[in-house]
Structure formats: C-alpha cells, structure tokens
C-alpha cells in the first residue's frame, strides 16, 4: 500500500481559517452571551492552531508558547467573563445580548 | 541609588504605606513620612550648591530598552529649590488638612504623597519621556484631590483642569516623540547637545512648531493668559491643601519646563516668539491683576493674582538675560511660598466661617489678631514689599525686562500697582473695620497646628527677602549655563545662515 500523500501545511491553516470564520459567524449570529463567549474561544482556538502550524513549519517552539499564553489568558478571561455574565444575569435575568445594551440598569 | 532617588521614591513608598495602614493613623503617618522626606531632601542642598551649574546626584540607567528610555535624573541649581519647596509644602499640607479633611482621610493623604512623588520626579527628570511620565503622574492625584474633596462645583473644575492639562501635555508628547525620531534618544542632555552641535538639524518651521508644542503644554500649566481659565475654577473648588499644592508646586512645573526645556532646546524659536509671549505675559499681568481686583471670592482673587504673578515669571524668562531669568526662577519660588501661604490662610478662614466670599468677613483682626498679622505679612510679601521675598523676584524680572525692552517693564510695573490695590482691598474688607456678629461668633484665632503649618512659609518670606543670595546664587549659576547654551546655539545658527 503506497503511503498516502502527506498533508500540506495549507490544510492546517485553512482549517484554522475555517474555524476562525465559524467563530466570527457564531459571534455575529448567536444572541446568547455564553454562546458568543464560546465563539470567541473558538476563534482563539483557531488562532492557536495557526500558531502551532507555524511553529511546526518554522521548527521553533515559540508558537507553542504563544498558544500556551493564549490558553492562560483565555482561562483568566473565562473566569472574569463568566463572573460578569453571572452578574449580568443576576441583574437582568436574561442572557440575550440584544437586551443588554446599556451600561446602566 | 543616591539621595535624589530616595527623595523621589520615598513619596511613592509612603503612598503605598499609607494605603496599607489603617485610616485612623494615616494623618500621623503622613506627617511623619512627609517630614522624613523633607529632611532627606535637605541633604540635597549641600552638593548642589557646591556645583550648581552641573547636574548633581545624576543617575542614568536604562529603563526601557526599546525605545531607548532611560531613568535619567539629576538636579542643578534650577531644580534644587523647587524640589525642596515641594517636599516642604507636603508636610505643611498634611498639617492644614488635619481637621479639614474628614472623609476618606487615608486616600487624601495617599494622594498628597503621590502628588509629591510626581512633582519631585518632574523636577528631577532629565529624560524627556521620564519627565512626561512624572508630569502625567501629578495629574492623577490632583484630579482626585479636587474631584473628591473639593467644593460644590468640583466636577466641572476637575474636568476642566484635566482636559486643559491633557490637551497641552499631548502636544508635548507629540513633540517629544518627534525629537526621538530625530535624535534616537529621549535623553534631555543628549538631545540638547545634539541640537546644539547641529547634529539634529531642525528646519526653521520645525523648531517653531516643536517649541510651541512644548511651550503650550507648559503655558497651560503656568498658566499663561489666555490659557488660564482653568485655574480660578480649580482653586476655588479645591480643598485647601489641593490649592496650596496646585499653586505652589504644580504651576511651577510649567515655568520650570519652559526654563529647562524650551530655552536650551529651541533658543531660536524662543527668541523669535519672545515678543509675542512677552505680550501675552504682560496682558496676563495686567488683566490678572485687574480681574483679581473685582473678585468677590477670596480664592478666586488669589487665583487671579497667581495669573498675574506668573506672568512675571514668563516675562522674565523671555527677557533672555541673566537678571530676567534669575528673577523668573526666584519668582517661582516666591510665588510658591507666598501664594501657598495665602491659600493656607484663606483656608483657615474658610474652616471657621465656611465661606470664601469676602463679603462674609470683616473685622477679623479684632477676633484673630495673630491670623491678621500673618495674613498681613503674606499680603505684603505678595504685593512685593522689599525685604520680603517677592520683591527680589519682581525686581529682577522687571530689571531683566527693562534691559530687554523698556516698554515691557513699564507695562509690567503697572501690574505691581494693581497688585497692591486688590490685596489691600481684600485685606481691608476682610480683616479691618468693625466685626460683624457672625464673624465674632465663628472666627477664632489661629491655633498652634495652623501656626506651625504657616510659620515656615512666613519665615521663608523674610529669609528669602533679606538673604536672597543664598537662594539666588545656585539659581543664577544654573541659569547662566542655560543662557549660554541657548546663546551659543543662536549664534551658531546665525553663522550657519551666513
């Protein structure tokens, strides 16, 4: 059995682009704050994939580090962001972003 | 780490300490800390006066690698007294706020010390970026000092103060960055050298614009007429200590900046624009004094008098001679001492009667003789009576102006007449005459704490008025260098032009 042709780097990057655009689309389409938040995470993941691919391509570890930092920051962001979402929900009893359009109650 | 760094960073440390300790003891702690800082700063005097034209306590280490920002500090005769004045006034401000500030006490003193940190840094910074950082640092505590502990219209006043100053400092930042693109460094000493040796070759217009960018930032802070309208509002709304720090120290930052940066770096533009600037200064002197004459509010009156007095500083600076510049710098200190004292005294009155309107007073001398005497001395200092501090400065400024252009001296001297009018009228209406019942009921004589707070300034008024040499000689030496630098540059450009 001949080995199948190797995967081009472009494939990884295209996958990354697709996921990113999906994230963007999710952010635009969804109305639920949490889902929108998750869309952001999806975008971050897509970017991470790019980082790792480039890291592979350039044979440098640095891309991994960036990914790592993105993860840590995403964790921090999730902690604060979700706390904010909790507070928002507490105050307005809704998660629909269209109803949360003013800073004052 | 030398003594200067200690003096710069002790306030910052004190600021953090104050945030940590309980509010109940923050007054005592702030007082103790600020006195320690003051005592430490006294150690600066010896080495600097020994060699006032060069920078003492110089410290030059990289702060940020790219862009090349350095922690470059150092003081010469020009900045020495301004730093001492700042460190002296801080404990005094702590004292005068002892009972005046009753809510958020801890934060108040913390901000006061943060302000001291910024101010001392401004006077010590020799790196333009560092200077800018400190310059902005001062803005924050003052914003809160006025915004939190001010009077009724404090929000309007703070916003106005903040926006005005920001507008100027942004211009300055742009100019600093432009200089960086030209010289590859933010270091003031290096930049000056490069400019002098013509290694940074600014076109005529570029120099004018750069000068204006710096100058407008400083002129707003001075404040030079017609950029002064934030000052009366800020003063009227600020708490006493805020007013004192604002008038005595923060305004000096502008004047200092002009002398330190505008003159040596852009001497050509400075000379070219000097007639205009002197014109504004003269208008400021007269208009400030005349407007002060008709103010019904004491603090506003003193604020406008500041506009007038600081006009002298600018005028002296742009006379481009030794006397004018010496007088200008000396006048900065004088204004710090005497106007600071005036604000303190007005604050004392306010604490008693809870009004800043002159109308609300009268005959205070009868019920508060000591206060009246001190107020009188301060008034006299403010109107430039010989043997008190302001006279020396005013005399030198006017002399310098007369050498530069006799007409300037004529108009400026008119301001001296008006200053007597408004100060004496205020004194008369406040302290003299029969004592109304409510004044008699509310106003008591100055107490020991207040006396301790204001006495150093009164002593300084007499000291600086009589033994001017000790203060003036270091300034004079530093100024001589600045003048020489700027003169050399102008001559070189002229030679190049030929």
């Amino acid at each position: 059995m001949p080995p199948p042709p190797p995967v081009p780097l472009v494939a990884y990057l295209t996958l990354s682009a697709i996921l990113f655009v999906l994230g963007v689309a999710g952010f635009l389409i969804r109305k639920n704050l949490i889902t929108m938040f998750m869309s952001i995470e999806l975008m971050l993941n897509a970017v991470n994939l790019s980082f790792v691919s480039f890291s592979y391509h350039l044979k440098q570890t640095d891309g991994h580090l960036f990914t790592f930092f993105v993860m840590v920051v995403a964790a921090a962001e999730a902690a604060v962001g979700l706390a904010i979402i909790l507070t928002v929900f507490k105050n307005r009893a809704t998660l629909m972003v269209d109803e949360v359009d003013s800073l004052k109650l | 780490m030398n003594l200067l760094d200690l003096v710069i960073f002790l306030p910052a440390v004190a600021f953090l300490l104050l945030l940590l300790i309980p509010a109940a003891s923050s007054r005592q702690a702030a007082l103790a800390l600020s006195i320690v800082i003051f005592l430490a700063s006294l150690g600066l005097i010896g080495p600097v006066t020994a060699n006032p034209a060069a920078y003492s306590f110089e410290n030059n280490i990289p702060w940020i690698e790219t862009p090349n920002i350095r922690y470059h500090t150092g003081i010469d005769g020009l900045s020495l007294w301004l730093i001492i004045l700042s460190t002296l006034l801080t404990p005094l401000c702590v004292l005068i706020s002892w009972n005046y500030i009753s809510h958020r006490v801890k934060e108040f003193y913390a901000f006061l010390l943060l302000l001291e940190f910024g101010v001392v840094g401004v006077f010590a910074a020799l790196d333009l970026f560092l200077f800018y950082v400190f310059w902005e640092v001062t803005l924050v505590p003052m914003y809160f000092l006025i915004g939190i502990w001010g009077h009724d219209r404090r929000i309007y006043a703070t916003v106005k103060f903040f926006l005005y100053t920001m507008a100027g400092s942004v211009l300055m930042l742009a100019a600093i960055l432009y200089l960086y693109t030209q010289g590859g460094t933010f270091d003031y000493t290096v930049l000056t050298k490069l400019l002098q040796e013509g290694r940074i070759n600014l076109s005529h217009n570029a120099e004018i614009y750069l000068f204006l960018a710096f100058f407008i930032a400083f002129a707003i802070k001075v404040p030079l007429w017609p950029l002064h309208t934030w000052l009366p509002d800020a003063h009227v709304e600020a708490p006493t200590a805020g007013s004192v720090m604002l008038a005595s120290v923060m305004l000096k930052m502008g004047c200092y900046g002009i002398v330190r940066f505008c003159l040596p770096m852009f001497p050509g533009a400075a000379r070219e624009l000097a007639p205009w600037i002197a014109g504004f200064a003269l208008v400021g002197i007269s208009v400030g004094a005349l407007v002060a004459m008709v103010q019904p509010n004491m603090k506003k009156l003193v604020a406008y008098s500041s506009v007038s007095h600081l006009g002298f500083v600018v005028l002296g600076t742009f006379a481009f001679n030794q006397q004018g510049l010496d007088g200008a710098v000396y006048q900065m200190l004088n204004h710090g001492v005497s106007t600071g004292a005036l604000f303190m005294l007005v604050g004392f009155l306010y604490e008693r009667q809870h009004s800043l309107e002159i109308k609300a007073y009268g005959g205070v001398a009868t019920v508060a003789p000591k206060l009246a005497v001190i107020f009188m001395i301060t008034t006299l200092a403010s109107i430039g009576l010989p043997l008190l501090n302001n006279f020396v400065g005013e005399f030198l400024v006017l002399q310098g102006a007369a050498i530069a252009n006799f007409r300037w001296a004529v108009f400026a001297a008119l301001g001296v007449i008006f200053s007597a009018c408004y100060m004496l009228w205020m004194y008369q209406r406040t302290f003299l005459g029969k004592t109304p019942h409510d004044v008699e009921h509310h106003v008591t004589d100055i107490n020991t704490r207040e006396l301790v707070a204001v006495a150093p300034l009164v002593i300084l008024m007499v000291w600086m008025g009589t033994a001017a040499g000790g203060f003036l000689n270091p300034i004079s030496a530093a100024n001589a260098k600045i003048l020489e630098q700027s003169k050399a540059r102008v001559e070189m450009r002229a030679a190049n032009a030929r």
Binding site: A11, L15, I18, V21, G23, T67, V72 | -
Partner: protein, 167 residues
Amino acid sequence: MDPILFAIFAGIAVVCGIVMVTQRHPIASALSLIGVMGSLAVLYLLLGAEFIAAAQVIVYAGAIMVLFLFVIMLLNAGAEPKPLRSSYLAGFLGVPMVLALMGLLGYLVKRSFPLDVTVRFGDFTGGSAKAVGDALFRKYLLPFEVTSVLVLIAILGAVVLARKEMD
C-alpha cells in the same frame, strides 16, 4: 496514517464548529466546542505539539469549558428563542461579510504557502514538555510572570464579581 487522522479530526473539528454555531442550545454549543478542542488536540499531536495538546485538553476542555458548562447549568440557560424578525444586518451585511472573510483568509493562506510544504508526524520534536518548559522559563520568563499576575488579577476579579453577585 497522518492524512487519515488529519482528515478524520479536521472533519470532526469543522462539523463540531458548524454545530456549535448553529445549535440554539448553549449546552449543545459547549459540547461541540469541546469536540472541536479535542480534535484540535489530536491535530496538535500530529504537529508535534504534545505538551500543547495535553494542555489543550486539560486547560481548555478540562477547565475552561467545565466552567462554561457549569455556568450554563447554574443559570439554567435554555435554547435561544427564534428571532421574531430576522435582522437585516445579519442578512445583508453579515453573511456576505463572513463569506468574504473566509474567502480572503483562504486566498491569503493559499498565496503564502505552496502545496508542497507538508507536515510529517515526528519531524518536529520541539513540542515536548521539556522544550516548552525551557522556552517558558528562560526566553519567556517575563511574559510568564506577567501572565501569572494577570491570572491572579482575574481570580480576584472573579471573586469580587461573584461576591457582589451574592449580596
């Protein structure tokens, strides 16, 4: 092996991504996102990023998404209601915009790399925990410390916000 694994997990990732975006229920979205993350972890392994792959699973899937799930459950968030009227913005601007973005990104990626730049499993060994750790604690020490401070702040922020929420 590589192309097959890639095809499988890329497929999973895309499908999960689409599901995540299209599902109305947040739990479904969250689960799909976990699917994306899991398959990405495998792709990371293929790219020689072992440590990142593990971290992806532990941190993203194991911690962050749990938090999401937890919040969704706590708030008992239901499915999004169907929009009463469809947004013009979404219709006339959103869809073309997203498509254009996709097209542009794809084009740029294509233009930047020729197809013969390929990925072979095992060609790159710089993704081990040791290599990453070395870089993290030598070259990227300062960012690491800064990030740790950031995380500390985030924790404090979350605690403060949550406390406010309690009273």
